[in-house]
Amino acid sequence: MSSEYSANEMMIVSAARALAEARSVLVGVGLPNIACNLARRTVAPDLVLIYESGVIGARPARLPLSIGDPTIVSGAAWTGPMPDLFLYILQGGRIDAALLGTAQIDRWGNLNSTVIGPYEAPKVRLPGSGGACDIAINARRTLIITRLSSRTFVSSLDFHTTPGHTDFATDVHSRAVAGSGPELVITDRALFRFAEDEGEMELASLHPGVTKEQVEDHVGWPLKAAPEISSTPPPTPAELKIIREELDPEGLYR
């Protein structure tokens, strides 16, 4: 098989590798779903797949189209009311890691998935929080997965849907309640982490062939860099084989 790989495949393997040591993960659809299943087959064999729709220990027989797909129920270890999932599993602190997408992200890792433009008269009405705000506040680790683009990486959000590390800069008190903030931002060009001190986003790793300048061009604020910037290892043939032959044979997310 060709060792060429797509931007999506680079994001998938980066997310999967970030799940090493996680015992439980809240699974989204699309790339996050493939990433979680790849992690189970590589770095985290005991990883428990949890869906906010009310499923624990899912064994989907096909690539689920949504987090409500019936294939995540058949063969699962536990299926129950959503209140149990949100109260006892998520708020109960039983989710080690969760992957979130977003339409906008700022330098503190705050997310907007609600509106483009003013809330009362939006230019574009986006889906809204769903579980995102709840997950960011209650999961032990939050990973953001999104393409690098100046439309996404903005200096100021149109709406704060989901809290990041903003509380460092603003309200310290509520931080305990507002969760620990995102740990990693996974994009098609680079990986970003957040500074220990003030929680500002910094460039942590460049994907093969990508320059610091190319990244900075797509970020809407003066991007800080981590003390040392590493280079992301490309997908291994083994990882690509699992993705292409087992997880996404039809190449829907190629």
């Binding site: 009310g54 019936p70 959503m82 209140p83 705000c133």
Partner: protein, 305 residues
Amino acid sequence: MVSKVTSMREAVERYVSDGCSLAVEGFTAFICFAAAHEIIRQGRRDLTLIRMTPDLVYDQMVAAGTARKLIFSYLGNPGIGSLHAIRRAVEQGLPGPLELEEYTHFGMIGRYIAGASRLPFFPLRSFSGSDLPRVNPNIRMLTDPFLGEQIAVVPPLNPDVAILHAQRADEQGNTQAWGLLGVQKEVAFASRHVIVVVEEIVEPALIRRDPNRTLIPDMIVDAVVHEPFGAHPSYVQGYYDRDNQQDQAWDGLSREPQALQDWLERWVYGVQDRQAYLKLLPPGTLERLKPLPVRSEAVDYGGYR
């Protein structure tokens, strides 16, 4: 006891009135499109539509002009894209304005639990650091009397009517469901009237041989409607799959107001009931959606005399 079984037409005429608040719930699964289409056909107006995920079912009801307001937590076509009719209403006020009352999933769950429990509020760890409390005064903060910590609270939600689809019920309304249970039980207990719509009506004895499987007891059910495939293009675990072809088609046609109206003409106004709707489906659709059998083991409750 007298049977609660009635037709979808009668159930909607009797319980869904102009201006009422309505929850047709179901998280991707069990979404009762048959009820939504009957409500559109009967020309209901000014409804407050309540759902965590408005989904196609409310996109269609908004496009048909039934809705005044939406109470929700996620506006999307799961795994596919946007809800274009709702977006037109919100972004352009077409066909008319649509009021939004917005929460997170957990916030909606908390409102349903409080409503079902006759609690004045429900506390949850969410919303802090979000703009949602700024645009929704129903989301407030409270100080915990034990440790003095701040925690968010939401008020009870009590829909006038809940319409809930499931696999089976008896004629009294004892309803059993398996698969993604979502918030079906909480919505049922929170609502003033409950209509259950089922794939099969079964003998009470069958229900009573597995009482732990009963999600909704008959004492809170007003009407039972027998409507096979009443959730299509949504799905019913073990009975049929989600019809992603129709969901994907909706993503395209719903971008075009005229195409959307043509769709409503053909699939909703143009048919008199769900049986007629099913006849319009491409040949082989229901067979295509049928899953392979995966049966559970029976369990023994024991007879104690």
